[in-house]
């Protein structure tokens, strides 16, 4: 490859990388603050409503209905879950970016990572 072609490749890769990094930072920031907001809100609802948090989280399938009922335990659990799924969310976004960039190897890598997360959820289901 000539040095001119190399420069063009470098510029293309740099642009692709910038897109990837920008989106990951957005997901990290959004995931962290959404999770903190939910946890703080849950703790406040518990304190104001005099409904103490339990010493065990609700089963996965009950978390969203419980949070929608404004149950403080459900809101805190949802915040913790959102935090735990934030890394998976940036992998999902990366998967879309790699698909658009036709980067097959990293599409496979991202799919493998999401499969691992699904296995970990599946292994723990009560």
């Amino acid at each position: 490859m000539s040095s001119r072609q190399q420069q063009v490749w470098d510029r293309v890769h740099e642009r692709q990388r910038r897109t990837l990094y920008t989106w990951i930072v957005r997901i990290l920031t959004g995931g962290f603050w959404s999770s903190v907001t939910l946890i703080v809100a849950g703790v406040l609802v518990a304190l104001v409503g005099g409904r103490p948090l339990g010493d065990e989280v609700a089963p996965l399938v009950d978390v969203v209905p419980s949070a929608l009922d404004l149950n403080p335990q459900g809101i805190v659990d949802l915040g913790i879950l959102l935090l735990l799924f934030t890394p998976s969310m940036y992998v999902v976004v990366s998967l879309v970016i790699f698909l658009r960039q036709r980067d097959r190897m990293f599409v496979v890598v991202c799919c493998a990572l999401l499969a691992i997360v699904m296995v970990s959820v599946g292994l723990g289901l009560r």
């Binding site: 962290f32 935090l83 735990l84 799924f85 934030t86 890394p87 890598v109 991202c110």
Partner: protein
């Protein structure tokens, strides 16, 4: 849990985060045994709280390194496949094995880390990987470093040989709720010749995914105590920020002596607890 206990827990978590960060080990290594031995919190709940704190620390702290481009996201994704798989194995082992065995394994980990810290010598400068080495996965990293604005360019080497080591880091993360950093950073730096700044930033990004893979198992199996977790997360995040600021201001050799003593006391307390003596 009473107010006094909540305050004590916040102080302990912040202290663990500060100390762990100053030594580059993460707060979990101190937090888990203290929660278990002093606060009488079930060991698996302590490990789960620590793992979730690791995720929170990674999610909140990686942004700056990503923006500075120290983090090599493509390298992180490639290494995350064995690391996250190892974390699941560790998580399943920790939630299945007898509690006394888990305590013994954890105490042995503490003793091993204390031993490594005593033996550790300054390895000197590690030659950085050549930037024109073959790079079929396009793992090349490039960032601007130092006040002079030098551009550091590297291509990680021997990536496939890092897989088994990275998976061991993942198992340790899943078993003990600690970040895999103490294993993954040396693998990237010593084996793959990734500059230490890039290795530390990439590891900090990776441990969020690794710890979340095992924390989801703890969560689903009902080992997460929301109150302990929320307090630990808050304390560890604050402590990590304080530790990062203090790290360069304190004498490292004195710190190492202090922490080796603390780790050894915690390890032997855990052995005694495992055998029902405490």
């Amino acid at each position: 849990m009473g107010i006094a206990e909540v305050i004590a827990l916040i102080v302990v978590a912040a202290g663990a985060g500060t100390l762990g960060t100053m030594l580059g080990l993460g707060g979990g290594i101190f937090l888990v045994p203290i929660l278990s031995l002093v606060f009488d919190i079930p060991l698996r709940s302590a490990i789960a709280a620590s793992a979730i704190s690791v995720v929170a620390n990674s999610v909140s702290g990686s942004r700056i390194y990503l923006q500075a481009r120290y983090t090599n996201v493509r390298l992180a994704y490639v290494l995350l496949v064995p690391t996250a798989t190892g974390a699941i194995v560790g998580g399943v082992l920790a939630t299945s094995m007898p509690l006394a065995a888990l305590k013994i394994v954890f105490a042995t980990l503490l003793i091993t880390i204390a031993y490594i810290m005593v033996r550790r010598r300054n390895p000197g400068a590690i030659p950085v990987a050549r930037s024109r080495a073959p790079d079929p996965l396009r793992l090349i990293g490039r960032y601007v470093d130092g006040p002079a604005g030098d551009v550091v360019t590297y291509v990680p080497r021997r990536v496939r040989y890092g897989f088994p080591m990275a998976s061991l880091g993942g198992v340790a993360s899943g078993l003990f709720g600690i970040g895999g950093g103490p294993v993954i950073v040396p693998v990237m730096n010593l084996l793959m010749r990734v500059p230490v700044k890039a290795a530390a930033s990439t590891s900090s990004f990776m441990v969020g995914m690794t710890a979340s893979a095992s924390a989801l198992i703890y969560y689903s199996r009902g080992h997460v105590d929301p109150v302990v977790t929320v307090i630990s997360v808050a304390g560890i995040i604050v402590g990590a920020r304080v530790g990062a600021r203090l790290a360069s201001k304190l004498r490292q050799d004195l710190l190492v002596v202090l922490f080796v003593v603390v780790l050894t006391v915690l390890a032997f307390s855990m052995y005694l607890d495992a055998f029902g003596v405490l």
